[in-house]
Symmetry: C2
Subunit: 163 residues, 2 copies
DNA sequence: GAATGATTGTTCAAATTCGAACGACCGGCT
DNA sequence: AGCCGGTCGTTCGAATTTGAACAATCATTC
């Protein structure tokens, strides 16, 4: 049974569930980060991305691309993180226009402190809701979607919290 | 290879891809709705949910629950839609506190006009990125996730645009 | 080496989001 | 009838997001 656009009920239902699941997971992650670390999800994302980069530093534009946020949005969040002392800005050596954001020692510490709780939540709410087969199938599906949407490997690279 | 929380690289990568895919899909949908219909995604959501309800009307709280938004967020969006003439508010007959939001004729028209494009985008960016098997597996996975996250059938029910 | 078009990052206004506080009302109880 | 904990929807302020505009710098071309 399809409607005008040829989308079946089942397809539409999957789409809606997909959106709903993403929304609720985001809400839960947001909530937990706020409660246990005083960070928003975007802020955690910035810290995590930086921690994954060589020397814990990245150009603003690279960071914006990877974190899937707009340039102005990133400016704002990095300003917040700088106020909190978790990130520092310094001029880029090779490009007079550029700014590199660097994790401070406090930034590393915050990440080491908050990552375990965060990852445990991801595990319990996301990974462990699925059987091994389901999880593998989900991986294949989102990989295919990511490819079609032009998500780069960079965007998606696993984040390793160094200690 | 796992980190402190016991989340493997592969699991983390799947999580990141899942978030990235959801983000990009949302951005594309948002963009298209804005361009072709002058609606935000939340606004479209409200119209679609109403269209799916008997008589095109729902109590505010029901609508907020289904649309996965906060009460105050819904108040704001319904106010915008009312300004645009797509939705009307009227008091609830059986509960003096209650407000029911109703689709106006213009609201029905807007939805009939914008749904085909929207659904075509969902089809091309979401459904058609996957093989039939992948799509079925994704459906099973998000259903399982939705169940574990407590998403009700209501929240997720397929939306039929009536004509 | 000057000119030109693109890129970098910030700033601004406008729109949107959330949670807390609020007044109004419901329903059950006495 | 009167009380009382709970629910309904709105409003408020604060935080955040977005795109457009901007000055500064780059890089390519002439």
């Amino acid at each position: 049974m399809t409607d005008g656009a040829g989308l079946s009920d089942r397809e539409l239902r999957t789409w809606r569930t997909f959106l709903g699941v993403a929304t609720v997971l985001n809400q839960q992650v947001e909530q937990q980060l706020k409660d246990t670390a005083g960070l928003s999800h975007p802020q955690y994302e910035v810290l995590a991305r930086l921690s994954n980069a060589p020397d814990g530093e990245l150009r603003m534009t690279e960071l914006a691309g990877i974190a899937l946020t707009s340039k102005s949005g990133l400016s704002y969040q990095v300003a917040q993180l700088e106020k909190a002392g978790l990130v520092q800005r310094r001029p880029c050596a090779t490009d007079e226009r550029g700014i590199v954001a660097v994790l401070t020692e406090a930034g590393w510490a915050k990440l080491r402190e908050s990552a375990p709780n965060h990852l445990a939540l991801v595990r319990s709410a996301f990974v462990e809701s699925l059987s091994a087969n389901e999880f593998a199938a989900l991986t294949a599906a989102v990989d295919a979607l990511g490819t079609h949407l032009g998500l780069t490997g960079e965007t998606v690279t696993a984040l390793r919290v160094q200690s």
